[in-house]
């Protein structure tokens, strides 16, 4: 069951099955405006699946999700036209999200990419690509940001810059749910630790 358009993010007794594997079950948590949550756990435990489930890209096996009206997902894929300069590629999303070119410029600045705005995305390095994905997320100005390893490939200065943007989003009353192995410089109100189910249930 999925219910969109509330103020909060609320998951009740959520279970997720991928293929024929149960990733997690009976997961319940809630975030209210201004709160941030951190999902941790070993690789393959279902962190990304949890984010995709909340984003509406997967259907839960069971349980209920209530999400705010607008969500932004930042995963490992660009969703930007590789042949276009960053500013022009972001314009596509700014048009879809009803934003202006000034918002684009602001989002690029928030990601610390002002000097790369005119460079085609195919020339970007790993860290720069990650920052471009973040710029796309900042641009959306959605209530809830779902961040999948947002600090991957970022240098220390960029992680600090990311922290500032995340904090500004929380101060505006936004919500963040992040899955990250790298420590993010914001205070998390909620910590979800996912553990592999077969380890819990292995016969003695």
């Amino acid at each position: 069951m999925r219910d969109e358009g509330g103020d909060n993010l609320r998951a009740e007794a959520l279970s997720c099955v991928r293929g024929d594997k149960l990733l997690f079950r009976d997961l319940s948590f809630a975030l209210t405006p201004g709160q941030a949550g951190l999902v941790t756990g070993p690789n393959g435990v279902g962190k990304s699946s949890l984010l995709r489930l909340i984003a509406g890209l997967l259907d839960p096996f069971s349980g209920r999700i209530q999400t705010p009206a607008s969500i932004a997902l930042c995963d490992d894929r660009m969703a930007l036209d590789e042949n276009l300069p960053l500013q022009k590629a972001l314009r596509f999303w700014s048009q879809l999200d009803g934003k202006t070119d000034d918002d684009c410029t602001a989002a690029i600045a928030a990601a610390g990419m002002g000097y790369l705005a005119e460079v085609p995305i195919r020339y970007f390095s790993t860290g720069q690509r990650q920052r471009a994905r973040l710029a796309r997320t900042f641009l959306s100005a959605a209530n809830l940001w779902l961040l999948d390893e947002p600090a991957n490939g970022l240098d220390t200065a960029s992680v600090d810059l990311l922290g500032q943007s995340l904090q500004a989003h929380l101060d505006r009353g936004g919500m963040i749910l992040a899955a990250s192995h790298i420590a993010l410089p914001i205070a998390f109100d909620l910590k979800l630790e996912l553990a592999a189910l077969e380890q819990l249930e292995a016969p003695l």
Partner: protein
């Protein structure tokens, strides 16, 4: 919704025309049409009789060329996921893709058919019928291409499979389309229109369902 549709269509159309992907089917079409007179000889009557059918088959083959660029790159890029997160449905994405693909595929193909018909010596009413039948069929060919590209997205050997899928699905178009050249009553064109409308109408739902399935 309309604004989102326009943005999506404009992005795809601009991308196809600027990447040169639009002109590949046109060049292919013209080369296929050029080969045919070399193969059967310059007999004018023979070319007049068979030329229309050959131009129709070339149109079907040209449909296959852009298949791997229609859905797969945007799927890999995460574009569709981002659209779904924004509440844009799979059906609307497929509908936008149908329109943008037709805009990049239909008019250039008609232009190529017009040029190629000169090589077959087609002129006057047969030429008009050929162009009319192709004009009616190009939305359906675009729809078939979008459906097949969505169905085979993520599969290995998607290109070869796409060809196998297109052939049987395109037979009704070929029968009524190429048939319209010899048909004086005009009913073949009406049947062609009916088949074309049907294919266009099911494309958003079939391709949308395929996009949904590939996400699971």
């Amino acid at each position: 919704m309309i604004g989102a549709l326009k943005t999506l269509i404009w992005r795809d159309v601009r991308q196809s025309y600027s990447s040169g992907g639009t002109w590949l089917p046109v060049i292919f079409y013209l080369s296929a049409a050029t080969l045919f007179p070399f193969a059967v000889g310059p007999d004018r009557d023979l070319l007049l009789q068979t030329g229309g059918g050959i131009l129709w088959i070339a149109a079907l083959l040209a449909t296959l060329l852009p298949l791997d660029r229609l859905i797969q790159p945007d799927l890999d890029n995460g574009l569709y996921d981002q659209l779904i997160v924004r509440g844009i449905t799979d059906e609307l994405i497929a509908f936008a893709r149908l329109i943008s693909h037709w805009l990049a595929f239909g008019p250039p193909l008609l232009f190529a058919a017009f040029l190629a018909s000169g090589l077959m010596g087609l002129e006057g009413p047969p030429l008009v019928t050929l162009l009319a039948s192709l004009a009616i069929a190009t939305p359906a060919l675009a729809g078939l291409a979008v459906m097949i590209a969505a169905l085979t997205a993520g599969l290995r050997g998607a290109g070869a499979l796409g060809g196998l899928l297109l052939v049987p699905l395109a037979i009704p178009l070929l029968i009524f389309g190429a048939g319209s050249l010899a048909d004086q009553s005009g009913s073949a064109l009406l049947f062609l229109s009916a088949v074309s409308l049907l294919l266009v109408a099911i494309t958003p739902f079939a391709a949308g369902a395929a996009l949904k399935a590939v996400r699971e």
